[in-house]
Point group: D2
Chain length 135, copies 4
Amino acid sequence: MSGRDLSLPAGGFDALYGLELLEVTDELVRAQVAVRDEVKQPFGLVHGGVLTSVAEALASLGTAVVVMPAGMAAMGLSNNTSFIRPISEGTIHARAVRRHRGRTSWIWDVEITDDAGRLCALARMTIAVRPRAAG
Amino acid sequence: MSGRDLSLPAGGFDALYGLELLEVTDELVRAQVAVRDEVKQPFGLVHGGVLTSVAEALASLGTAVVVMPAGMAAMGLSNNTSFIRPISEGTIHARAVRRHRGRTSWIWDVEITDDAGRLCALARMTIAVRPRAAG
Amino acid sequence: MSGRDLSLPAGGFDALYGLELLEVTDELVRAQVAVRDEVKQPFGLVHGGVLTSVAEALASLGTAVVVMPAGMAAMGLSNNTSFIRPISEGTIHARAVRRHRGRTSWIWDVEITDDAGRLCALARMTIAVRPRAAG
Amino acid sequence: MSGRDLSLPAGGFDALYGLELLEVTDELVRAQVAVRDEVKQPFGLVHGGVLTSVAEALASLGTAVVVMPAGMAAMGLSNNTSFIRPISEGTIHARAVRRHRGRTSWIWDVEITDDAGRLCALARMTIAVRPRAAG
């Protein structure tokens, strides 16, 4: 555990789909989402958008940990997610590892696994680091 | 309009974040999402995951229109989204255009714009077409 | 035609694999490559790397047209290419269209077609625009 | 070393830009390219297309090791490369690690580093595995 406050702001999108943060540092972020009907697509599988959303959230939060105290903003620049195996029950496990920390962008790799530890999705996130005012 | 039933199944993820379908054909899918607090990230902007989710939904639905009646399933294989301009209010407008219709995969380009018509995100979706039983 | 000098510097990579520029503006770049053994992989098809290289070249050149005279450099930030249909003979036709012109990055869509006009690859290029000194 | 014959077919694209294979297995492929003028773009840096080509080659070869003896073909389905740091001299070092081995597609992560061991590019390759006849 990172010692940080891992509660999410109430009322936002991450709370809506049920993101639960487990660890947030500028090198590693871990989280999970409980599978339930409201994260599924019409055919009973977890909606791919939930997996891309988790990747987005983890990479952004892990970058914000460092850049926000420095007066900068962290914003997603690209989200490239490959879907490998569908998830239909249990818990979605996500683990984001930083691969690059640049002056203007950070890159994270996010792995999504199921309860059996099988790889279900891989995401590569590029997060832009910008002056707060510039949006 | 396509003449199809454009209502989404209640209780799933697309309904959760508020996807409203406007047109669904196997070549063009249009939809919108009303911006409200529950689709935002902590800094007041629309969460990138909402945009990737919309792209996922539109490309999957547009493919399912054809492949489901043929006994096949449509599943996201990859979602590559580039974020161009943040959205903080109004309506998210999404338009998916099919670029390739293959035997085992379809490719869609999805444009996300804001109320002023400005380009906010571009997604390239690859949707796998598989026998229903093979999952 | 753009009226620009469309000759490539001798001795570089684009000349090595045989890029021929047909049109270079900051909104549209067109080029072609003659298929021959030295652009193929071991199984007789055009090497995917040739297609990604063409996409990279066109997007970079189209951006450089504007940013270089302004004292900035254009450098590839990401290259996302989807391969749709193999090419084994004739000419590789490439057409890059600008989708976004931002202060720090431009986005281009590149279409690769064969002699029959069939879509063979789609690339989305993000080109970073940086001060020359910063590399 | 893998014990395999690591020579490339003469006359093809990989030989043209100078790929030297160091290790080829179905889980790990390593290779290098000597930096020289003919792999550079007009501004003296290694052309991004060389890095995407190396990624393409390594992932394809690592997949072919297994699927070709089984009568299948390995073909690039997508190449997603992020450029992190330019290379201008020395040797391009590439290392591809398999992340997923599916029935119809494999996924590889490719890291490109410079002589100082610094991360210069990250590629995620999806390789389709298809019956030989189906092209």
